[in-house]
Symmetry: C2
Subunit: 381 residues, 2 copies
């Protein structure tokens, strides 16, 4: 700029821009104490005399001081933030887990950095890297399978992390969630006990999704115990929509004999299958049984309520938060990290129709996935 511009304007502008944001030193000065004292009333009030504590509080309030997180993070080497990468938030279970996770973190003074990988391990790796650069104190991941670099980075930098939504006994000290495989095994066994011998499966795509893979495996586990398996043309993959569930179901019933039971990989596929069956006049459970995974309100409200596995996703989020915070505190958390899964029996499933290839087993015990007592009926609001 040229000379001759009124100094007044110049000065005003500068002031407006700088506005010398109040800092801890200003509070200290106004309260007539040292910066250390101000810092203490914030971080260890019990170590400051009541008098000074109040003087500082007053000054802080008068100045409207807001401590600077970046500075604190730099000095303490802790950001007070936890990063989480979910595949998406469009699936209710992840959304609920994210919400519960954030609640747990906030309750303990932490904040949540959230991002979605869209089921892309590479994207996930990039996001985790971003998180680490941002200095997150811990990371929450979904699933047990990740880009090696993701894990390597976390381990090298010593950032505690936890894998969620697919509890695996093998990884028991890193993973929290339902045991997908066992849950599906139990659900399949339940159908076997009902006399079913011909199974269809509308599986969720296993593309970068080890939870879905575990669920498929669970079905296979149970079937092979009886020397059974799903015929290729009774096996269809879908992703996560009602319309895919419908299409898959049409595929499966293209030619007879139909399966007597169809197991779906998630709630929406199950809803689609049930709606399509209804529309075609197939009576559930008289003609066929259909079951799903995950319980959403819609499943119990449909004209034919759907039998399914209930997973407490909020519990997963809460426990994940609990776990990483415990690790941050230095404790190796003792609580078990498996979340209970429960079979919710509704009218979409029942005994295999007559004329089934083999005879029905005698007893149909009260179905309930075996799982530790913890988890259900937790202390969530």
């Amino acid at each position: 700029m040229k000379e001759g511009i009124p100094v007044g304007v110049h000065a005003a502008k500068k002031n407006a821009r700088q506005e010398k944001a109040v800092g801890l030193r200003d509070v200290a000065r106004m309260a007539g104490v040292s910066t250390a004292t101000v810092s203490r009333v914030l971080n260890a009030p019990e170590r400051v005399s009541a008098t000074l504590r109040e003087r500082v509080a007053a000054a802080s309030a008068r100045l409207g001081w807001v401590p600077d997180g970046a500075a604190r993070a730099l000095a303490t080497r802790r950001s007070g933030a936890v990063g989480a990468v979910f595949p998406t938030l469009s699936h209710g279970d992840f959304a609920r887990a994210a919400e519960a996770l954030q609640g747990e973190l906030t309750k303990r003074g932490y904040a949540l950095l959230l991002a979605c990988s869209h089921y892309d391990p590479l994207q996930e790796q990039l996001l985790v890297r971003q998180f680490v650069e941002r200095g997150v104190d811990a990371v929450v991941l979904v699933g047990n399978v990740h880009d090696p670099r993701t894990i390597e980075l976390l381990e090298r930098r010593n950032v505690p992390y936890v894998k969620t939504f697919n509890y695996d006994p093998e990884w028991r000290h890193h993973s929290v969630g339902p045991d997908n495989r066992r849950a599906m095994r139990d659900l399949t066994r339940y159908l076997l006990r009902l006399g079913h011998r011909r199974f269809g499966m509308i599986a969720q795509s296993v593309d970068h999704n080890d939870r879905a893979a575990a669920r498929q495996q669970g079905v296979r586990d149970a079937l092979s115990e009886e020397g059974l398996s799903v015929r290729p043309h009774h096996f269809v993959e879908g992703r996560w929509s009602i319309s895919e569930g419908r299409a898959a179901f049409r595929q499966i019933i293209k030619k007879k004999p139909w399966p007597t039971a169809v197991i779906c990989g998630n709630a929406y596929l199950a809803i689609g299958a049930v709606l399509e069956a209804m529309q075609r006049g197939i009576k559930l459970p008289r003609d066929m049984s259909i079951v799903g995974y995950d319980d959403i309100e819609m499943m119990q409200e449909l004209p034919v309520p759907i039998t399914t596995l209930r997973v407490r996703s909020d519990e997963v989020g809460r426990l994940a938060g609990d776990y990483v915070l415990a690790r941050l505190g230095g404790h190796q958390p003792s609580t078990d990290l498996e979340c209970a899964v429960e079979i919710i029996e509704r009218s979409s499933s029942g005994p295999a129709p007559r004329g089934s290839p083999r005879k029905v087993l005698a007893s149909v015990p009260k179905a309930k996935a075996s799982a530790p007592d913890r988890g259900v009926g937790g202390r969530d609001r």
Copy 2:
């Protein structure tokens, strides 16, 4: 501790704990350049000669250096994070918006701090305060009504913010989203054009929810234009579940005459109402019309697909991100901030049944909420 503890152990412990994390200075030393240069290759590579740039890159890679976000934030006075407070993530619309917001932010190098207020303005105020302390560069809020302290803090600290999900022409430079009021007015007019004169409403509770309030107001707007209103016993409030929708519907049809059209405040209430109607043998749209707000897949898959307003929640998130980033860049963003809303006409609605109090209007023009052309068919994946 007492004397006599082996020095070796002590030293080892210290080493293990310190591990002298590599920093920018280490990279600089190894590359034989100054710290300034290292910083530059990160933030303004074009200002560094190719030679040095490569030397630095090599050193950085060899050391596995990860820049420290806190230090950078302190030095630049920018955290590169944006905070968002949603009422919850359990509602699909917020979840989708959050996901889109994060995508937009990540694309431009920002991170998202996410939290839920559970429709509690006080909680929101606390969370925003936490965000500000953490140094977020901008804040995304839902709705136009907030605790005064929330806004005051943001304004005093000069933190750009945006109000979402309830576009209000009055606040046009701060709010982005659908115009709930106008959208509902248009939807109601559509029903009026179909000849309906007796309306029921299953409204979403307006408790700390100005979006719901705006929607109710929109209905009233349109009705009063015709000198009509909803009778008290045809007005029920619910929150966000299918079962509440059912219960509300039962309430409304307790005694005749029934309304010929029932307007629901959200998708789940509408689904509940439709399911209950089906169950009671009420034929839609012959006996009655039911419409909702917000379009979720279920609505088109039910035996009676539901007429509703489609809101592009992902668009809301994307635009919100766009907006705050623009403000951060100093631009006053020029794009309009209203998101288009579209009436999706399905078979749950139709002409008023015969015997309606007044005669049907002549024309039923192609229904489409008037709204700017932008928004629909955006560039989302």
